[in-house]
């Protein structure tokens, strides 16, 4: 459907040279290279993934190893900084750089896991709701509307206080809070596609419901879901950091950037680096993901792509 639309737009906007769809967009890879911020985001995220996977080999020290004699050492470029601790040490003498590298694992893992759990459940609910319609649809949308009106974070606090904080609880709580957006998006797309000819054809050919949902409807959801998942990923990284900062997320001796900021807060006046570096790491990660998300949003949305294409053509003239 989208191909037809962008083709007709290419014809009306560019009467001089007929431009095919592949030439107009050049595929995703060329599209990413043309979009500098998106490319920067992708490279940064790639770097972060590399760091997260190889953190034990990259980190110069054990992130939990304490050394009271070498506590509160400043970064290398300040007076008293040493080569053994490039970014200094915290109040227990732990190496800040090693903790930063290891912290990336928690952030990215919690992000991926939550998006995966919340996304699969939300998409499943949305598919059922949109395809089945009728009573089922009413119940599921009613459920979604009710849960959207819940005070999410406070309820999360209550769950964490009752069950006790851990990485698994954080993932479960964040997924419980976030699945509704996927369900809503999926439902609206499915509703739009249900009456189209290709779904009807599949039904007439005798496809089972499961096959229609997975083979015919799900692929059409890939692009919007990918964008939404990326945006949610950024939100989850921030949420995990905030929960850990409040002491309700990842628990010591595990490392998390939010936890490090909370611990460094008490030494903010004497040792600025304890708060600054983990905070920067969070901001850097979220920014990278956001850049990718905004590139994805434009690239995968036919309407946005047409707009951009038209603008480019207008500028060239």
């Amino acid at each position: 459907m989208s191909i037809v639309e962008s083709d007709s737009a290419a014809v009306t906007d560019a009467p001089i040279v007929p431009i095919s769809d592949t030439q107009a967009t050049g595929g995703y890879w060329a599209d990413l290279r043309a979009d500098t911020p998106g490319l920067i985001g992708a490279v940064c995220l790639g770097l972060l993934l590399f760091i997260a996977v190889f953190a034990p080999f990259l980190a110069p020290h054990d992130p939990a190893a304490q050394n009271i004699i070498a506590r509160l050492q400043p970064p290398i470029w300040m007076d008293g900084g040493t080569w053994t601790h490039l970014l200094g040490t915290d109040h227990l003498g732990r190496d800040v750089l090693s903790r930063l590298l290891h912290g990336s694992r928690i952030s990215l893992f919690v992000g991926f896991a939550t998006v995966l759990v919340a996304g699969s459940f939300g998409v499943l609910m949305g598919l059922i709701s949109g395809y089945a319609g009728g009573r089922t649809d009413q119940w599921i949308t009613g459920f979604i509307d009710t849960q959207v009106a819940f005070p999410g974070l406070l309820l999360a606090l209550l769950i964490l206080a009752v069950i006790g904080p851990s990485m698994t609880t954080v993932i479960v709580v964040l997924a419980l809070n976030g699945w509704m957006v996927y369900a809503r998006l999926t439902r609206s797309v499915v509703l739009g596609l249900r009456q189209t000819a290709f779904v009807e054809a599949a039904e007439l050919l005798g496809c089972r419901t499961g096959r229609i949902l997975i083979r015919h409807l799900l692929p059409n959801l890939a692009a919007p879901l990918l964008t939404l998942g990326t945006l949610e990923f950024a939100r989850i990284v921030l949420a995990e950091a905030a929960l850990s900062f409040l002491g309700l997320g990842v628990q010591p001796p595990a490392t998390s950037w939010g936890l490090d900021v909370a611990q460094g807060k008490d030494y903010m006046f004497r040792a600025w680096w304890l708060v600054t570096f983990p905070g920067l790491a969070i901001a850097f990660t979220v920014l990278a993901i956001n850049l990718i998300a905004s590139w994805l949003r434009v690239t995968t949305d036919p309407v946005e792509r047409e707009k951009r294409f038209a603008r480019r053509f207008g500028a060239a003239k």
């Binding site: 009106a149 309820l155 999360a156 606090l157 209550l158 964490l160 905030a242 409040l246 969070i282 901001a283």
Partner: protein, 308 residues
Amino acid sequence: MSRFVINRLWQGVIVVLSVVVVVFILTRLIGDPVRVMLPLEATAEQRAAFEAQLGLDRPIFEQFLTYVRDVAVLDFGESLWQRRPVLEIIVERAPATLVLTFAAIALAVTLAVPLGVIAALRPEGIVDRIVVVISLLGLSIPQFWLGLLFIVLFSLTLGWLPTSGAGGLDHLVLPALTLALPAMTRLVMVVRSTMIDELNAQYVKVLRAKGMLPWRVIGVHALRNSAVPILTIAGWELIRIVSGYTVVVETVFAWPGLGLTAIQAIERQDLILLQAIVFVTAIMVVVLNLMLDIVYKAIDPRIEMSAK
């Protein structure tokens, strides 16, 4: 209109009821309140006495009925931490949260609208690029960290504003700003994109061709037409702030509102106080949602009458 309001009221009641059920299931069935609230070294007799005091030795169905009855008259029991009625604590702390919330949302809207409009005047111009970059940064910086940076900059280095606590207006500035900034960045993007679409519309061209002054075209006609999406997002942001963002910011600035109290209640294992705060927040969210729906309806009659 009245049918619409009743419909929405009904929805709100369902939300509040489900919060009651969820809180009950969480605190009584999944969690063990005695284990959470009493210290580890408590004896078996102390545990039994505590259970009897909270009515936990009764059948679960009876417990639920008592619970619902108490909640209905806002009787949340006595706080374990402060040894006084929970309602008293909530009434004492709620005003601080409300003041902070409304200061933040007011700040966010007053900053976002002019910035978004200016950015929309020349899409991809210099100002627009700066606004987009700033809002991307604002979206990516963790709120608690931003608050700490503000404390370091404005309180410790420049000495302009107090670091924490409540008091005069000067105490409100940093927490409100921290709370407002992420909301503002999201709002700016909405103002910008809706204004770009409006300014490309036919009626704007007609008004310009008629010779109407640009500020009037933009400020009166185009802005009024983008009011509904802007207000919708502003309403969402308000609800987001109420339903949780205050917890983080109040903790950073030791602002004595409900959010800080919730964290203190968790630290002191006071589930009774915590569940009351969750419940009161749920009611606030429901009431705000209802008010916002009525406001949208008043602004834009095209919004559907029925609930769905």
